[in-house]
């Protein structure tokens, strides 16, 4: 089986971000970036499937500017076999990404695509779903457990949904998006970090993949949420009641 894992380079989970003064976006210069945590979980799951001998090859793909290559290298350092980088300087939203990934999936003849459920910079949670629709493949999203039955060529996926856990079985090839509890990603160890430098990353672009990018959105304004007012300490129950009744007017 060949696994394709899509990874995204995002602002680091712990980085403090600021909105640009002209409100056109977030200040990204000199901000630390890293692989989207959910994408990391997807890479880890792919590597585990390879270790279980379910998958033969793990290919990692990322869409973005030149710096996306760093993210691909991280995945290679974790143990992925090859990389593919779709070079574009445009900031793309899920539909365009899904179109590009679909083209890569067809080109690679992948049997299973793993993605993070959402990226922590835009929280769209759309790419995996759109990708499945474009490929006309089944999808199982928010996976917290994944089992592949090679004999029947099906995947058994436990999904985290609002009401609890849902288990579904789908045929392969399929698109799976990962949720937090699926696994704990490994640290990239030195031997693998060094090997990763020699692993190939194929250079691709939208034209070569035959994808026309649509510009369907225009960002109007980006602003910070209103600052929360601080709380106050009250000195007695009577004072609390008074404030609830007369100031907050909730009683």
């Amino acid at each position: 089986m060949k696994l394709l894992v899509a990874v995204k380079r995002v602002v680091d989970y712990n980085a403090r971000i600021r909105v640009k003064a002209d409100q056109t976006g977030v200040e990204l210069a000199n901000v630390k970036t890293s692989m989207n945590p959910f994408c990391e979980i997807a890479v880890e799951e792919a590597l585990r499937l390879k270790e279980q001998k379910v998958a033969k090859e793990v290919v990692v793909v990322s869409v973005g500017p030149k710096s996306s290559q760093d993210t691909i290298r991280t995945a290679l350092a974790m143990g992925a076999d090859r990389g593919a980088h779709v070079l574009t300087d445009q900031a793309l939203l899920p539909l365009n990404i899904a179109k590009l990934l679909a083209a890569v999936a067809r080109k690679e003849d992948a049997n299973l695509i793993l993605l993070g459920k959402q990226a922590i910079d835009d929280d769209c949670n759309q790419t995996g779903q759109m990708l499945a629709a474009l490929l006309k493949w089944p999808q199982a999203t928010f996976a917290s457990k994944l089992e592949i039955d090679q004999a029947t060529n099906k995947a058994r996926v436990t999904r985290e949904v609002d009401g609890g856990l849902q288990t579904l079985i789908c045929g392969l090839p399929a698109v799976i998006t990962t949720d937090l509890r699926l696994n704990q990603p490994r640290y990239a160890t030195l031997p693998n970090i060094m090997k990763a430098k020699k692993k190939p990353i194929e250079a691709l672009n939208p034209e070569a993949l035959g994808v026309t990018l649509t510009k369907a959105y225009k960002r109007v304004k980006v602003e910070e949420p209103a600052k929360r007012k601080g709380g106050i300490m009250v000195s007695s129950v009577a004072e609390l009641m008074d404030k609830l009744r007369n100031e907050a007017k909730v009683l």
Partner: protein, 459 residues
């Protein structure tokens, strides 16, 4: 009057071994009967100066203040005071001095050697209510603040203006800057930023008789007169209570890299350190080590701690951190260094943190060893400065001497500063532990020219 455990800061091995021998004699220990007992008149005075909120007499509220973080030492103070400003501290001390009332200054109460809790029923003077940041000059990097500010909050505050505090330690979420200065805290970045003696630019201190000493110079270079503030840095509250601090903060590094390495022996660790200094030189900001037993102890007692290298087991592990201004440059240097060390077989395996979560996770492991040990039970803690070659030999020797006892001997610490934290963890409850095991300790560190660097002396 200030009653403290009268241990001088030992820096010579002769003093150390003498101290050990005198540890049990009355001459070295302050006695309760030298000081007065608190009366209602005193409490009335304090209420008058501090108001209701500033006087604590409730036994339940006093219990955690009387006991140290390890849970090994417990005083019996019946009164804790929370002054809001320097003037109030001055009035309290003047009154106590005039009436021979013993006091104990207390900040975050995170100390590991029982220095922040009363011996008997001394009055606790808490600095926590004096927690205002006074100013920060981003050009010079000069922070002025009150002594009760929590270290982590200060780091966040100066972080917003592109700077960082020059010290960092596991207790940062609770420890207060006044206490850090009083104990001349070292910490994880001592290697890079040096000691409090260099970073503290000024202090405001209240002396035992209530005199307010204004040594708050915020000048980068000030050679006028005697540098009196140096006496209070590391003075452990014996000469006065620090109420304000002026500290020089370095610029926050744009790029921080953390690597976790598994090395076959301590000798290899030293070779790695030398190579790290050569390759990483000016960007090296921390070089810590921990041994396998401390890793196991921490993983066992703290389930949220992850093992970065679960597939390998070696006697010694290292945490290496670089801090610099350029990501590609620093990462490149680190990769070259690690590749060379790996190919020369100085390290068996290792990992470079790929994002800030992994960085935090690796540091969390190193910083949680103390907590892991605490969960295991009582701990005998020794903070020792030793010549690099002897650092781990001491741990090995203690381990072999105590192999017939139900104890685990662990060693970890700041390799870059030649500072070993030797911890002996007996598998018995805190209460049944003997209060002193110096029979086995005495002479050992002294023979190796050890001294007590940063934690303070432990009973």
């Amino acid at each position: 009057m200030l009653a403290r455990r009268a241990w001088p800061r030992a820096s010579s091995h002769i003093i150390l071994s003498k101290l050990v021998r005198n540890a049990q004699t009355a001459a070295a220990t302050p006695r309760r009967d030298e000081y007065a007992a608190i009366s209602d008149r005193d409490i009335a005075f304090f209420l008058d100066v501090l108001g209701d909120r500033g006087v604590i007499t409730d036994p339940d509220a006093l219990q955690p203040l009387n006991r140290d973080w390890i849970g090994k030492y417990e005083g019996s103070s019946r009164l804790a005071l929370k002054p809001q400003n320097t003037e109030q501290v001055s009035q309290i001390l003047r009154h106590c001095n005039a009436n021979r009332i013993a006091v104990v200054p207390q900040g975050g109460n995170t100390g590991l050697v029982g220095g922040s809790v009363p011996l008997f029923d001394e009055v606790l003077i808490m600095t926590g209510a004096m927690n205002k940041v006074i100013s920060f000059d981003p050009v010079l990097g000069m922070l002025t603040c009150e002594a009760g500010c929590v270290l982590e909050q200060l780091d966040r505050h100066v972080g917003e203006q592109g700077h960082t505090m020059p010290l960092d330690l596991g207790a940062k979420g609770s420890c207060q800057i006044g206490g850090n200065v009083s104990t001349n805290a070292g910490g994880l970045r001592y290697l890079r930023y040096g000691s409090m003696h260099g970073n503290v630019s000024g202090l405001e201190v209240v002396l035992a008789d209530g005199t307010i000493l204004d040594l708050m110079s915020t000048l980068r270079k000030d050679n006028t007169g005697y540098d009196l503030k140096q006496l209070f840095i590391g003075g452990e509250g014996t000469l006065g209570i620090i109420t304000k601090v002026a500290m020089l903060c370095p610029v926050k590094p744009a790029s921080v890299q953390v690597a976790y390495l598994a090395v076959p022996t301590f000798q290899h660790a030293q070779q790695v350190f030398q190579k790290a200094k050569q390759h990483l030189g000016e960007i090296l900001s921390a070089f810590e080590f921990l041994d396998h037993p401390s890793l196991i102890m921490t993983l066992k007692h703290l389930p949220n701690i992850k093992n970065p290298l679960p597939d390998i087991q070696t006697p010694i592990y290292l945490v290496v951190e670089t801090s610099g201004s350029n990501l590609e440059h620093d990462f490149g240097k680190l990769e070259v260094f690690l590749e060379e060390a790996y190919n020369d077989e100085m390290i068996a395996d290792g990992t470079i943190a790929q994002d800030s979560s992994q960085q935090a996770s690796i540091w969390n492991l190193r910083e949680s060893i103390s907590e892991g040990l605490r969960h295991a039970g009582a701990v005998y803690k020794y903070d020792l400065s030793l010549p690099p070659n002897d650092m781990y030999k001491l741990v090995e020797e203690m381990r072999s001497r105590m192999k017939h006892l139900p104890v685990t001997v662990v060693g970890y610490g700041h390799m870059g500063d030649s500072n070993l934290h030797l911890n002996i963890s007996p598998s018995m409850t805190r209460r049944s532990c003997p209060t002193s095991n110096h029979l086995c300790m005495s002479g050992q560190p002294a023979r190796r020219g050890a001294s007590v660097p940063s934690m303070g002396w432990v009973r």
